[in-house]
């Protein structure tokens, strides 16, 4: 299809595992969709849910948070904290009508270059199927609406 929807995906990658995993995917010449915008963070525990909501607000159609496998966190506990946070955040987003499938949290190690590419591919496909985020729709909608009233 010529006008296929290309989702914008923001991904927060932990410096110690997932970012290195992405690097490995690159150096191993494994291709994955270009839809992701990578932001390197020290730890998945650093990813305040605020970042995720902000990404959605500013136009992301999907957000990924990738960290080290449980037990492997460079800071001992960051990914455990992230796990708890996102288990709740997921459910809260779902409750507000933003499909929880748009937020993806998983663990990818530095050696899993191939897996990184698979995860990114699968998630991109998932978000592509969901279509654009309605929130942006309302943002645009309310902008238009208020343009009409205001202008």
């Amino acid at each position: 299809m010529p006008n296929q929807f290309e989702p914008k995906i923001v991904s927060f990658l932990c410096n110690w595992c997932s970012y290195a995993g992405a690097d490995l995917a690159g150096t191993s010449r494994i291709s994955y969709p270009q839809n992701i915008r990578i932001i390197r963070v020290p730890c998945s525990g650093r990813v305040d849910p605020l970042f995720v909501v902000k990404a959605f607000l500013d136009g992301a159609d999907g957000v990924m948070v990738l960290g080290c496998h449980p037990g492997d966190c460079h800071y001992q506990q960051g990914n455990y904290i992230a796990q708890r946070r996102y288990s709740i955040m997921h459910r809260l987003l779902e409750f507000t009508g933003i499909e929880s499938e748009r937020l993806f949290v998983d663990w990818v190690s530095a050696s899993e270059g191939k897996r990184f590419a698979e995860v990114v591919t699968a998630f991109t496909e998932r978000v592509r199927n969901l279509g654009p985020l309605p929130l942006i729709g309302t943002k645009k909608l309310s902008k238009e609406k208020f343009q009409e009233v205001a202008s």
Binding site: P49, L57, R84, I88, R91, L92, T96, E99
Partner: protein, 288 residues
């Protein structure tokens, strides 16, 4: 005058006369018959104190302005506060978060039959099984004990919304937040919201625009709800304060429901346990 009111007045008078506190925070009636917060500093003024189902704010919120010494070399003021069972949980929360010290507060606990918002019994109160505060210095008791409602699913309304499609839920919230005027009354009335600078107002880093539009309002409410995850006591002060009748409590109740399910945690049970989102269990694997 009801006997509940008498008991509140008498204990307030005693606290003030004995010099145990310098101020009693309770409710009084305004000229139009509505309940509103009252700050009583003289024993004779305790006659103004009232109690009825209109007393829906959480007065613990006002303790934030009395948690530090008013001046150099002065002690932290001691305050008595009239509270419902849910409000007391906020005291536990604030003690846990080292905002308050138990010894500076006298708790006038109400045996609560539920309070109203817009002349309707709050959803939480319909199911509430806790009619007597967990901790108190004085317990205000009615002649007849409050009857507990039949044990039902306290989250029925949330479950109903969960059965909707994403779109329906999105439309629901869009419609509700369209009415929001971003006055921050919900945040200001909440005892758990006491950041010096809220993310909604922070300029650097700049989280959200000053626009009073639906996405910004949704951002604010979702973030506020999340910041209260495991900390919200379900007192309903946010809904009571909202001038536009937005059912904000639903967001908090959704989170409370999940936290109870996942971690078996109920905010304010005591002042020692850490809230679930700031601790972890290495053996747990959650669906995310």
């Amino acid at each position: 005058m009801t006997s509940l009111e008498n008991q509140i007045r008498n204990s307030a008078r005693k606290f003030l006369e004995d010099g145990q506190v310098s101020c009693v925070i309770g409710y009084e009636r305004d000229a139009r018959g509505r309940a509103r917060p009252a700050f009583i500093v003289k024993a004779d003024d305790t006659e103004r104190l009232i109690w009825d189902s209109d007393c829906s704010l959480n007065l613990v919120n006002y303790l934030h302005s009395r948690k530090s010494p008013p001046g150099k070399d002065q002690p932290i003021p001691k305050t008595a506060v009239v509270v419902r069972p849910c409000d007391v949980r906020a005291i536990q929360l604030l003690i846990n978060e080292q905002q308050l010290k138990r010894e500076n507060i006298k708790i006038i606990g109400i045996t609560c039959a539920g309070t109203d918002i817009n002349h309707q019994l709050r959803t939480e109160c319909e199911f509430c099984q806790e009619r007597i505060p967990l901790i108190y210095d004085v317990l205000v008791e009615p002649e007849k004990p409050v009857e507990l409602p039949a044990s039902q699913d306290a989250y029925a309304d949330i479950e109903e919304m969960e059965s909707w499609s994403s779109e329906e839920r999105f439309d629901f919230w869009t419609k509700e937040f369209d009415r929001c005027i971003r006055c921050y009354a919900c945040r200001q009335a909440c005892p758990g919201c006491y950041c010096f600078e809220c993310v909604a107002e922070q300029v650097d880093p700049h989280w959200t625009s000053i626009a009073l539009e639906v996405p910004e309002k949704m951002f604010f409410h979702v973030m506020r709800a999340f910041h209260l995850a495991g900390r919200c006591v379900g007192c309903g002060a946010c809904e009571a304060a909202c001038p536009m009748n937005i059912p904000l409590g639903k967001l908090n109740r959704k989170i409370a429901k999940e936290i109870l399910e996942l971690f078996g945690y109920h905010t304010g049970d005591n002042s020692e346990n850490l809230p679930p989102l700031v601790c972890f269990n290495p053996d747990e694997r959650l669906k995310i």
